[in-house]
């Protein structure tokens, strides 16, 4: 009796630096080590029947990733969680598993949005600079050599300001980014993909931003592009320290609860 099991896992630490393609292999091998009775596809290249949710870009960690696997024998979700966690490499951990009635649409097809938390660290602020300063320093700004003494305001005070700034950013008709592809530079309007963006926290030179993006036919937008677009638009100089995917949704509901 074939079963479909939906697995929720997290990906963080060193392993966030492997690509989606490599991740598929890492899971395949872990499933074999755990001796999970996987259904194997026929054909020239036998593979385990499994399918992943939308790929996570290299360098981004996640608290909620998904994977559907087909097993040929009954296996309890708790048992699966235990067996997999023993053999997964550092940074990958199964959090939940549940049996999904067959037939079921693939994760990629049903997942409609993703929630990200972006952690930024203040490098320099240009808030206090006059317009002339800005013009004069434009060159220098780019080289990130603005003098420290210009930074004399606590980031805390900036929360409202940044919030306002983001609202302005989102009010644009188009937010065009330039993406380097193999064929050259491609211009993409990212605005339709952004559901919402807001300040989560602003403390001790650390700024956390919530970003909620559509995932769908138009593709899976890398949140880094949106944040970089906002940074260059706003003039704030922050380093992106970390990006974490903190939820994948099917119609406003976290995948595992759907």
């Amino acid at each position: 009796m074939e079963r479909l099991i939906r697995v929720k896992y997290c990906k963080n630490g060193p392993i966030k630096y492997i690509s989606h393609l490599n991740l598929v292999q890492v899971f395949t091998r872990a499933l074999r080590r755990a001796d999970i009775p996987m259904v194997i596809s026929g054909g020239f290249n036998p593979r385990f029947r499994m399918s992943f949710g939308p790929p996570l870009p290299l360098g981004i960690s996640s608290t909620s990733e998904y994977l559907d696997i087909r097993v040929k024998k009954k296996i309890e979700p708790e048992d699966l969680i235990y067996r997999l966690n023993v053999v997964l490499p550092c940074g990958l951990k199964v959090l939940q598993a549940k049996i999904i009635p067959l037939p079921s649409d693939s994760l990629v097809k049903i997942i409609s949005s993703a929630f990200y938390i972006i952690t930024l660290k203040l490098k320099k602020s240009v808030i206090n600079l006059s317009k002339e300063d800005l013009d004069q320093n434009k060159e220098n700004l780019n080289r990130e050599i603005l003098r420290e003494e210009k930074v004399d305001r606590e980031l805390k005070d900036l929360k409202k300001e940044i919030d306002k700034n983001i609202k302005g950013f989102l009010n644009q008709e188009e937010i065009v980014i330039e993406k380097q592809t193999k064929k050259g530079i491609k211009k993409i309007n990212t605005r339709p993909a952004i559901i919402n963006m807001s300040v989560k926290k602003c403390q001790d030179q650390i700024l956390e931003i919530n970003l909620w993006l559509n995932i769908g036919q138009e593709g899976n937008l890398n949140p880094r592009y949106v944040v970089e677009a906002w940074l260059s638009n706003s003039g704030y100089i922050f380093d992106i320290k970390q990006i974490c995917r903190d939820g994948l949704y099917i119609k406003n509901q976290e995948v595992i609860d759907y």
Binding site: I15, Y17, I18, V26, T28, R32, N45, P46, C90, K241
Partner: protein, 613 residues
């Protein structure tokens, strides 16, 4: 300085393939800090993807880490982008296990897989904060050792490496640890350590030997500096290969590496006796693992790694004495789990194709054959004991068996080669192509890889000259133009690289200086086409006043002292000379497994278990 913190917070986002530098793969061994343990860095002078495919380090990693009193960690050459970041921030190259700098290890062990990694060894030492030269190293610097096939002519590296391991590392590493530990407790100095280690069999300490030269650059003598240093260092070898330690918990990389599968070493050594092949000489004699043992190993390693493929590895795996039984057992055993078996090197005979068919019942990835040359005459000269008819039978069997893609290896520049021999490669290819069309009914894809012959030490051709670069280039160009068919993809070497390889393969100590100069001129990753800088090498030779021709293009007399004459792989010089003579007469030498003993000398040891009953 917290390397780990800087690596994860600042560097990884800026480099290509950051997964090369993170470590933390499944089965990685991270031991707790233990001051008294002997810390060994297994340093691979190339990228992670190459180094993680190397069986030797997998074996040593497990042997060393199994001990409570020793630690082994991995270090690879950083790619150019990462190296730049490290140098900008003045960070040392570090291990993947504990992010420890290279110079904080007790012992740094390099493997020398080929001559074109020499500059990378220097680069790793420099990036690791270790003085390049042995004589400049202080008491607190690590002991720098090296092994692998390249150690059979170690001389060009003599001033950079404190000690060479000649032969099979798994046999000797524990002895080194024991001596090191004792020496550390006794608080001796560096010279003491080297003298103590010199007493172990299979250890070559270049500073214990003096080499003098004639005015024409040939070697006059190689003499031990003290009476207690042995004049000839014999390779160490596993006597009971079946029971030798084999890695049961190999690290499973998170990113793709070159050989991303279980490597099951079915035997070591090869006695086919191809006269150009160094591996065929230095790994003798043939020693097999038993079928029972191999099945057991496969079971365990598979459970510990979860790989989808098991590769039966050796220099010529279809020569394994019970290969059919082994394959049948393995295929049946792992079919249900979706695990395939692969044979990386196939001999040219229909038996081998039959085996390939059995293991690749599903995956038809392509078959590789190495006819090496175009004529039977030359094939006899190199002792490739294969008839042209065998090749056609094998290829026919492959096409009939469903393969649509084949790969063929050829070599140009072999001793006695004439234009006709090269011309005949084209005739052979025409025939293969026609056969494909007849059997399949359309054009088949053929991959041809042509390489330039590089004479290597410890082979019957060690006295020979490499053909002049111009002549080699001409031959390759000729083949490339003639085989410019749409269904053929043709790959060929950079002749300058083959030339440099030939220079260093039979180099002497004087090349140490050249190497150092080339390194300072920016040479590294010489094995990588895009990084290789031949002009810099030429400059280094010119500045040192040495000629590359002297090493690459000169025929040596039989009685000339060769730079590696004090290093013995067991195969005797008389045997090599005899083989050289036979080669020139076009006489072949059969494989001693199926014919009489050839008295090469490799088995002349009482404790050796060669055959499995």
């Amino acid at each position: 300085m917290d390397i780990k913190k800087i690596l994860f917070e600042e560097l990884l986002d800026k480099v290509e393939k950051p997964g090369r530098y993170t470590g933390k793969e499944f089965n990685e061994i991270v031991k707790e800090e233990n001051k008294s343990a002997v810390k060994i860095a297994l340093a691979f002078p190339d990228l992670y993807e190459i180094g993680m495919s190397y069986l030797g380090f997998k074996i040593l990693y497990e042997i060393i880490n199994r001990r409570d009193d020793a630690v082994a960690e991995r270090i690879f050459s950083p790619a150019v982008d990462m190296e730049r970041l490290l140098r900008e921030r003045q960070l040392p190259v570090f291990s993947l296990e504990t992010y420890r700098p290279l110079n904080s290890f007790d012992i740094v062990g390099f493997t020398i897989q080929h001559e074109l990694c020499f500059s990378n060894i220097l680069n790793l030492l420099d990036l690791g904060g270790i003085p390049l030269k042995s004589e400049e190293r202080k008491e607190e610097d690590p002991l720098v050792i090296a092994g692998g096939p390249g150690a059979f002519n170690p001389e060009p590296l003599y001033c950079f490496i404190d000690l060479f391991v000649i032969g099979e590392g798994e046999e000797i590493i524990e002895g080194i640890i024991e001596v090191y530990k004792k020496w550390k407790e006794e608080k001796g100095n560096r010279a003491d350590l080297l003298e103590k280690l010199a007493r172990l069999d299979g250890i070559y300490i270049p500073s214990h030997y003096k080499v003098s030269y004639f005015e024409d650059g040939k070697i006059k003598s190689i003499i031990p500096k003290k009476e207690e240093f042995i004049p000839i260092i014999k390779k160490r070898m596993i006597s009971n290969f079946d029971q030798a330690s084999y890695p049961l918990f190999p690290i499973v990389p998170n990113i793709n590496v070159v050989h991303d599968r279980i490597t099951l070493e079915v035997f070591r050594g090869c006695t086919r006796g191809c006269r150009f092949c160094q591996a065929g000489m230095i790994y003798r004699p043939v020693r097999e693992k038993s079928v029972e043992n191999l099945i057991k190993l496969a079971d365990e390693i598979l459970a510990h790694t979860g790989y989808e493929e098991i590769s039966l590895s050796s220099l010529s795996s279809s020569d394994y004495s019970e290969i059919e039984k082994l394959i049948t057992l393995l295929v049946d055993r792992f079919k249900e789990k979706g695990v395939g078996i692969s044979l990386p090197s196939l001999r040219i005979d229909s038996f081998s194709v039959g085996l390939a068919q059995q293991v690749q019942r599903v995956r038809k990835t392509g078959l590789t054959f190495a006819p090496e040359v175009g004529t039977q005459r030359l094939r006899d000269v190199i002792n490739k004991n294969v008839q042209e008819e065998d090749l056609y039978l094998s290829i026919r069997a492959a096409f009939k068996g469903g393969w649509r893609k084949i790969k063929l290896y050829f070599m140009v520049g072999l001793p006695t080669e004439t234009d006709e021999d090269v011309e005949e490669i084209i005739r052979l290819m025409n025939k293969v192509d026609r056969m494909g069309r007849e059997i399949i009914g359309r054009k088949i894809n053929i991959n041809i890889s042509v390489s330039a012959f590089v004479p290597k030490s410890h082979t019957p051709f060690q006295w020979d000259a490499q053909e002049e670069r111009e002549a080699l280039s001409k031959k390759i160009r000729y083949l490339k133009n003639k085989l410019n068919w749409r269904n053929i993809s043709f790959s060929y070497p950079d002749i300058n690289r083959s030339y440099l390889e030939a220079v260093f393969a039979r180099g002497d100590r004087r090349l140490g200086e050249v190497l150092e100069r080339a390194y300072y001129l920016g040479c590294k990753f010489d094995a990588w086409r895009e990084q290789f800088n031949f002009e810099a090498w030429q400059k280094a030779f010119a500045e040192s006043g040495l000629s590359m021709e002297f090493y690459a293009n000169r025929v040596r007399k039989d009685d000339e002292i060769l730079p590696w004459d004090h290093i013995s792989c067991g195969v005797k010089k008389e045997y090599l000379l005899k083989e050289k003579e036979k080669a020139l007469n076009g006489e072949t030498t059969p494989d001693c497994r199926f014919d009489s003993c050839t008295s090469c000398g490799a088995c002349e040891r009482k404790d050796l278990i060669i055959w499995n009953d």
